[in-house]
Amino acid sequence: MSTGRKRLAGWALASGLVLALAAVAAGCGGGEEGAAGAWQIEGLGSTLDEIQDAARQEGQVNLVIWPGYAVLTDEFTAATGCKVNTKDGASSDDMISLIQTGAYDGVSASGNASVRLMTTGDVAPVNTELIPNFADIQEGIKNKDYNSRDGQAYGVPHGRGPNYLMFRTDRVPESTDSWGVIWEDESLERYKGKISIYDDSIFIADAALWLKATRPELGIQNPYQLTQEQFDAAVALLKKQAPYVGEYWPGDVAKQIQSYTNGDSVVGTTWPYQYLQLKKAGVPVKAVKPKEGTTGWSDTWMIYAKAKNPNCMYLWMNHMASPEAQAAVAEGFGEAPVNLKACELTKNRNHCSEFHAEDESWWEDVYYWTTPSADCADDDESTTCMTQADWKAAWTEIRG
């Protein structure tokens, strides 16, 4: 055993080193610019031919995706020489943190990720001239605030879909068509421990949507931009619901599928993907867009501003906009394609009409995910709203 003095000295040595490093860390700060500049990414070819040649050199593309989003990858690799490596994100926050590691070339971003990524400059604008299939994308989906800035496209639209209310028809009345089944006291009692909820702060918007329909005095317009009062009401509603929730599924689609299969969960919120899987397995489930409307998503393939394989990523964006890939992913995940040429290729010929690909009125009460913002994302300077950080902190609290 050494003396106390020695030990102290050892610690002093170690802390000296640590402090020196911390100083270095503090020095290397900043460097975060606002929006990105031109669409030209280092190493990206300037014509389609150049891109195809350069892609063969790159040989791979690394993607952050929602589960099930990367389709026809073997065909893509055969055609372009780019191997496809994917990483599933569980939530938009998850996807942002993954793309910010710098290890990925692109991401299938929902609105609550894409706006933030454009703001931080983590994703680059795209030259749509170099993406031939972009021309076939529905005009109504292009040039939205979640996939463009000042008229400049920041990626290629992927598809859109609703978050469903899903229930087991043998346990919940088949006629159920209101979110009340997961919010109202009596119903919460009835399905206690059998309710399945998406585990992310964005679900606060679903509570706000219910309040919008049932408590008009709160004056909720947009379920993503909430004043303190509206937000508190939504959080209170979620806290009331929490003890009745059987499972929160954090992108763990396997667990939700399993729990519906064996009846552990009988009602809750879901993506069309799980619904289709359960249907396929013969589980008696039904999924509806309730009368209050619902939250949903309109996703965009975006390219990382410092992508290591930009050429493969451009080809990938083009691939995912192709009629074949659009048909495959629309049927696989359960969403509406944005390239309507896909409607000819789906195995179920009615897929496009069943998923309302062309029926804009159906989408009017589907609120696409977007990022909560202090200025309420409007031009009215007098209003202030709760921020993404508030949402996130509140969600940790709701989960308890």
Binding site: A25, I96, R116, T120, T387, T396
Partner: protein, 298 residues
């Protein structure tokens, strides 16, 4: 050792030789040469990283983009202190760690005792290997195995079904079982080593003085092996405290690890501040363990 006699080192000349003699004459320098790499590595790569993490607990987060903003603030600590949920989760995690430790100790004791005092030397060696193996078998595979076992249609409910019982595996109780399973070998080995170190003569002396076997066990064996149990508990405790994979596989309850893992991507400063909680608990635990002389028994 024989190699010293057998091998005759060929004589060497030149710079290497001179450097070598120089180092031999200057033991401080030789020490420096030995230490440069490991100290550089651990000091810079590891402690440096910890310092970066600690420092980031004082940064701000942009409320819209979730980017880290390099302005000093204490808000992260305030957030952790003021929102009761962080305390509740920490408390739940510590409670889980405690219950896992108790379960591990109860399960480990008979096995360790059997190994140390009943089994023949041959059986004992086999048992030691049998306990060591799963210690090194993949953590993830073990956790995954339990996810499968605990599911509604898994082996556990299949076994309980004929008895008319049902176990809700994907629950806090299920997680408790998983943790107990994962860390059990970490408890068995120190307890076994502690038991084996108790001299036979001591137990005989107790018997000679009229102590019945239960008395001997309670008054001699237990107090002597207690530090070993504490030593084992260091692992069961600290491993439970920081885990986020096993909880994510079997429950949706929040624990310290799962909260940190969930928020670090878009709220690194808060995550860094919260990470100080398990660090503090473990350091505190180590200090208590040292008081109880646990380290000497390892």
């Amino acid at each position: 050792m024989t190699s010293v006699a057998v091998v005759e080192p060929p004589p060497r000349r030149g710079a290497g030789r001179r450097l070598s003699s120089f180092l031999y004459r200057h033991p401080r320098l030789r020490l420096g040469a030995l230490l440069a790499l490991p100290v550089g590595w651990l000091g810079i790569v590891y402690l440096g990283s910890l310092a970066v993490l600690l420092l980031s607990a004082f940064w701000k987060t942009d409320p819209f983009t979730s980017q880290v903003v390099r302005e000093l603030t204490l808000d992260n600590f305030r957030e952790i202190a003021e929102r009761p949920v962080y305390r509740e989760v920490a408390w739940r995690t510590v409670r889980m760690a405690f219950l896992v430790t108790v379960a591990c100790a109860l399960l480990a004791f008979p096995l360790a005792y059997y190994m140390a005092r009943v089994a023949s030397p041959r059986t004992r060696n086999l048992l030691v290997v049998a306990v060591l193996m799963p210690l090194w078998a993949s953590y993830l595979v073990k956790a995954y195995a339990w996810r499968t076992l605990l599911s509604e249609e898994g082996a556990i409910n299949w076994a309980l079904d004929p008895l008319g019982l049902h176990f809700n595996g994907y629950s806090t109780t299920g997680l408790w079982l998983v943790f107990t399973y994962l860390w059990l070998p970490y408890m068995v080995l120190p307890v076994y080593a502690g038991l084996e170190r108790i001299p036979q003569s001591l137990l005989e002396a107790s018997a000679d003085l009229g102590g019945r076997s239960l008395t001997t066990f309670a008054r001699v064996t237990l107090p002597l092996v207690f530090p070993a149990v504490v030593a084992g508990s260091i692992f069961t405790f600290s491993l439970t405290l920081g885990d986020y994979i096993a909880p994510s596989l079997v429950t949706s309850d929040q624990f310290v690890g799962t909260v940190i893992y969930r928020i670090y991507g878009t709220a690194l400063p808060t995550a860094a501040a919260y990470a100080l909680v398990p660090i503090a608990v473990i350091v505190g635990y180590l200090l208590v363990a040292r008081r109880l002389r646990a380290f000497e028994s390892l």
